[in-house]
Amino acid sequence: MTSITLNNVSLVYRLFEKLTLSAPGRRRSALGGNIAKSGTKQVVQALDGVSFELKAGDRLGLVGPNGAGKTTLLKVLYGIYQPSGGTISITGKVDALFNIHIGFRPEATGRRNIVLRGLISGWTAAEIEEKMEEIIDFSELGDFIDLPFKAYSQGMAARLAFAAATTLEPEILLMDEWIGAGDASFQEKAKRRMDELAEKAGIIVLASHDDALIRRVCTKKLTLRAGRVESLA
């Protein structure tokens, strides 16, 4: 059974300071969170005591101001950042869409990029071969699929990335913001695909500043502020 359980998860990391003219009180990490002193070292508290539980079929929207920890939380869930405290228990195959361009090479064709994206996501050659046409169909790229990726518009790139990430039906899908990139018809199509994923007992976690998108797509909303959970509704 697909599930995500976070219990008092925190992420603290040491800040490796670069030369800057900014006053110490105004320095901010790229990850967001709070800067604090630990002995002689500066540390960033990116997440602090985050707890929640998601079960099959849940679609969680992460909201909060810039630097609240939305992307950091997604990356903790994906396993890119190792939490410094608390426990995470995830059951299910996780895939993520943080950046449309990850795994896509500008000079390679859309078809070749599907192969590369599949390899990076751990698919077998047979799985890639089997799903190739379905991805191309969903992306609606037509003959563009054999043109270099750099020739694609932002919306075409988003369609291909979304199709590649969701065609193999991950049990847990993590998405950051970018889904708002495509046009209205793509967003509608993406929502239907996400509905299908959720109905197949999957979990979706989507971080966005777009309240309308969160309301349209998600069944739960978690508000983060300065790395802490402000509300979960």
Binding site: Y13, F16, L31, I80, F98, E107, A108, L116, L119, I120
Partner: protein
């Protein structure tokens, strides 16, 4: 320490299972670099010929009586180009791979092997040029080439360790990209790539005996140009590789999860 080593081996083993990823990415990298050119990757062969030709042209007059000099330079350039490219590209590896490291859960060693593969493919073109030069210089293929390939094998085995060590150096000390780049440029003159050591004293003596790159070069070159088994060079290279791998494993084990916060 044991946990760190286990972590490193785990990362390496996961990366080796994903060999199709780094092989595919390395091929794409090479293809992208030459995509719009007429000669494509053959430019690497042209570059190699140009360098060997220039050094042979400039220095061969002095060593005209020594027919092995062109072969000496050809093998020296092959190994030196491989080493210098591997090391200089390693220093900025994690910066170049930042979007992957911050956006996927691929093991860190995948990026190490991606660069290793790239360097091996590039060296393959130089190797083809080197073999051609050796054949044209009158060095027919014989059993000495097998001994030489032992040196090449050690060089390839050391490559991922070189990449790991210099990639972590670059991540912790960004200035090292420029320091290492300059040192490698100067290092060519302190390594017997194109000059021949024949017992001179002073700087050349130190540059020959106390320079680990000397032994990488001689391990490949001596069997062909001198017809001898490079036992001493291979032994030094072997110990150097073990030391380098020990450092690489520790770095990978201790710091691989912190790299994402450094880049």
């Amino acid at each position: 320490m044991i946990a760190a080593l286990n972590g490193a081996f785990d990362d390496i083993s996961k990366a080796m299972r994903l060999h199709r990823v780094w092989i595919a990415l390395a091929h794409e990298d090479i293809g992208d670099q030459h995509r719009r050119t007429t000669l494509g990757p053959l430019w690497m062969l042209v570059n190699y010929f140009a360098f060997v030709g220039t050094f042979a042209f400039v220095f061969v007059t002095k060593d005209a009586s020594n027919p092995s000099y062109i072969a000496y330079v050809a093998i020296g350039m092959l190994v030196w180009f491989y080493l210098t490219e591997t090391i200089t590209m390693s220093v900025s590896l994690f910066q170049r791979e930042a979007s992957f490291i911050q956006g996927t859960t691929l093991p860190l060693f995948v990026y190490v092997m991606r660069l290793t593969m790239q360097c091996i493919i590039r060296a393959g073109y130089s190797l083809a040029g080197c073999v051609l030069i050796l054949l044209l210089s009158g060095y027919g293929i014989n059993t000495n080439w097998l001994l030489s390939s032992v040196g090449l094998l050690l060089l390839i085995l050391a490559t991922p360790a070189f990449v790991v060590v210099f990639a972590f150096l670059g991540a912790f000390f960004p200035d090292s990209e420029f320091i290492v780049g300059n040192l490698m440029r100067v290092g060519m003159f302190f390594t017997p790539v194109f000059w021949v050591y024949s017992g001179q004293e002073g700087v050349q003596e130190y540059a020959y005996h106390w320079n680990p790159f000397t032994y990488f070069l001689e391990g490949v070159r001596e069997p062909i140009t001198a017809g001898i088994f490079p036992g001493h060079s291979l032994a030094v290279t072997g110990y150097f590789c073990l030391g380098l791998w020990a450092i690489a494993l520790l770095l990978l084990g201790l710091y691989r999860k912190r790299i994402v916060f450094l880049i």
